[in-house]
Symmetry: C2
Subunit: 434 residues, 2 copies
């Protein structure tokens, strides 16, 4: 790792533009108490095994817009920070299996995305470096469950169908001590894993078949309120306004009133805040499925009338998300501009922060030249270019400007951890559920 | 941190020369099982809070020559790996104090070495980054116990005399939840800390007033034997031969027979091994105090007659170590050539590996132009130049040569951890002692 690899990442030190954030200043001033604040909360709500958080940085506002408990993209992290990953993996795995341990990693079904398989390969190699055996087992039966893929580094990784033997799962000759899901379970909790004695992490109850983004942001809102009080800022600066609608049918045009009212309410909320802070931009909201991932079923809206007059194509796009699931529940979320752009390209950049257990282990920018500052960058068919963070998120430098890159990365790490903590509270709530 | 700082470290990618090591090859092949091996052993013997290990790399042999449980030199680590330190500190501190925590850091008495105070400053800042309050308290009473020092970064750090209040210690207005010793207690276990309810780490029983290097190397020898069996190499390749003498008085010329016999025995052991491996170098041994630090009381010997005919100056040098302690116990240790040299300078380089809890968090080379490959580089008045490791010690790269720098650093990390594990077993033995 080290210097050679660092230099291999292009534009590593590119200055990202953006107005100086009051929040970055507050975070810097109070770093030690902030870390203490997190220590106490992680004790009460153990962190998810791993988490990635999509952030939007509007300069005046820094907020999470999506929190993924089955993160892909580990292949996009800066190799210089792989040691942070291995260390954190050791902590995370030790909590599940204190002694030597075999891991069964469960990937997405049917993915043909080579970047996704690079992610699986990166996870396997990180787990091995941390001292664990890792093999990849599919929820699909033969023949779809058996495949192999070649990593860019030449290594071939085999996927085998998982076998259920009584109350445990295995691969031939390989009995894992726990199952690590990298499959977000969009189509339901898999019967293959039901009732097994081995731990399954993250909990299948937090798969997208069951999890609601609005539940996450409800937890996040509470935490943001508490944290903002702690560092003495307006919670809105780190928290996107949202509403939700419970029974929408885009095809049948049912639930449009709830949608339109919610869009109105969120836009009005943003307008008040923009006025308070003298922000000249036009407010917008993001309408998206309350379950599901991969940025399917997402639209940018600037006026309530837009959700009343969807054409057939738009309705089709919104109605169905990953694995053919129908959208019924919808999240209407404040759009946060991303004002980070890269160099001369005028490309829009969205930071994604990665955590393993309670530790920030890196991140990258999704960079997209063909999209605007008010669009979702994690959309279907989106070809983003990943740019690994140059700095870790845990080494702020008080001698430099609050928006110097190590300080900005620290701010990303704090907000990313707030979102991961909200997810940890979802986990606790799911565990308490009947 | 990141790129800017990395580039600020001079000669970072300088290739260190040295023959390809069979051991590096074995370590690379078996990385995952090696990490598992360590997992299991750390569960049985919890790691010391922090450790630094001086290694010697002879090309054909890689072995620890000193293991410090009160390490200085944290200021010499590569800032790019500070995030590893913060993460590991959180693990280490959480084990002692699960909730929010104040730390009392106890430095050396009477040190005027500005590098040493930079080390204390680095520790304070790393602890703060990890989310802990840290203040520096002296074992000395007023006025010597009160001082302040300015770090190179401009920050001023205050040292205050520790106050004993009943069965605990404090600074004015500051009651710590544990005491972190960076003072090796050469002159004895401090009465100020005796019987307090707060944990004191590392255990004062492992201060140099009580700890024997030969006990450490006895533990290390057992571990090296076990580990060498595990990876199928000759244990000598990672373990220096040694003998010890229990009652030597250099001034009175007592114990010379034991010294001379031990020197003979160790030289003969080395000769046999050099013959077995066709090594042309001349064997040498290092004679040093069995307690104590700072490289005082150390000599290089090539023949037993040398310890029989010490002149007054040599005897004086060997008789007294740090804080005026008299040498009675002596360690006679196989000298390991250091064949690592830096660039065109022909400077001799000795790697020092740093651990926090069970995690390798970096290291540096001690570089010394005025010394030979068969001399101790940690000697009194020694002016070494520190060169931070460019790579972490946990990211070997199997696609590259076994002695490529990430792989060599991995080997350093493994041998460093073996020594730290030996120290962990010393800790357990000390805890079991009456």
């Amino acid at each position: 790792m080290g210097v050679q690899h660092l230099q291999a990442v292009p534009h590593l030190t590119t200055a990202l533009t953006g107005p100086l954030l009051e929040i970055e200043e507050r975070l810097l001033e109070r770093q030690t108490p902030i870390e203490q604040w997190f220590h106490e909360r992680w004790l009460a709500s153990p962190a998810p095994f791993y988490t990635s958080v999509d952030l939007r940085n509007a300069g005046f506002k820094l907020a999470p817009v999506d929190t993924n408990l089955f993160p892909a993209g580990f292949n996009n992290l800066n190799p210089a920070f792989h040691p942070l990953c291995t260390q954190a993996l050791q902590i995370a795995v030790e909590r599940l299996c204190p002694t030597a341990c075999r891991i069964l990693l469960v990937p997405e079904n049917h993915s043909r995305n080579t970047y996704y398989w690079e992610n699986i390969g990166a996870l396997v190699e990180l787990l091995e470096r941390a001292g664990y055996q890792a093999r990849v087992g599919s929820l699909l039966p033969e023949p779809a469950g058996r495949q192999s893929f070649s990593l860019q580094n030449g290594r071939v990784i085999a996927v085998e169908p998982i076998e259920r033997v009584g109350d445990s799962v295995a691969l031939p000759g390989y009995k894992p001590c726990f199952v690590l899901l990298n499959n977000d379970l969009s189509s339901g909790a898999p019967p293959l894993l039901a009732g097994i004695t081995q731990p399954v992490v993250p909990a299948p109850a937090l798969g997208w078949w069951n999890r609601l983004k609005s539940d996450h942001f409800t937890q996040y809102r509470r935490l943001a309120l508490e944290f903002a009080g702690f560092i003495d800022i307006d919670p809105w600066l780190i928290d996107p306004i949202f509403r939700r609608c419970g029974s929408v049918d885009f095809q049948k045009r049912e639930g449009e009133d709830c949608l339109a009212d919610s869009v109105d309410a969120v836009l009005e909320g943003i307008r008040l805040k923009y006025r308070e802070y003298d922000i000249a931009q036009e407010p917008f909201v993001i309408v998206k499925a309350d379950t599901g991932t991969y940025g399917m079923g997402i639209m940018t809206v600037r006026d309530a009338s837009e959700v009343r007059h969807l054409n057939r194509k738009q309705r089709n796009k919104m109605a169905v998300i990953k694995e053919g699931q129908t959208v019924e529940r919808v999240l209407i979320q404040e759009g946060v501009y991303t004002f980070e752009t890269l160099g001369d390209e005028q490309a829009v950049a969205e930071p994604v922060v990665y955590m393993i257990d309670r530790f920030v282990v890196g991140g990258f920018y999704r960079i997209h030249t063909a999209r605007g500052a008010d669009e979702n960058l994690n959309a279907p068919g989106m070809q983003f270019r990943p740019l690994a963070f140059a700095d870790s998120c845990s080494s702020p430098d008080k001698k430099r400007e609050p928006d110097a890159s190590p300080n900005r990365f620290y701010a990303y790490g704090v907000i990313g951890r707030l979102a991961a903590l909200a997810a940890a509270r979802e986990l606790s709530a799911a565990a308490d559920a009947p």
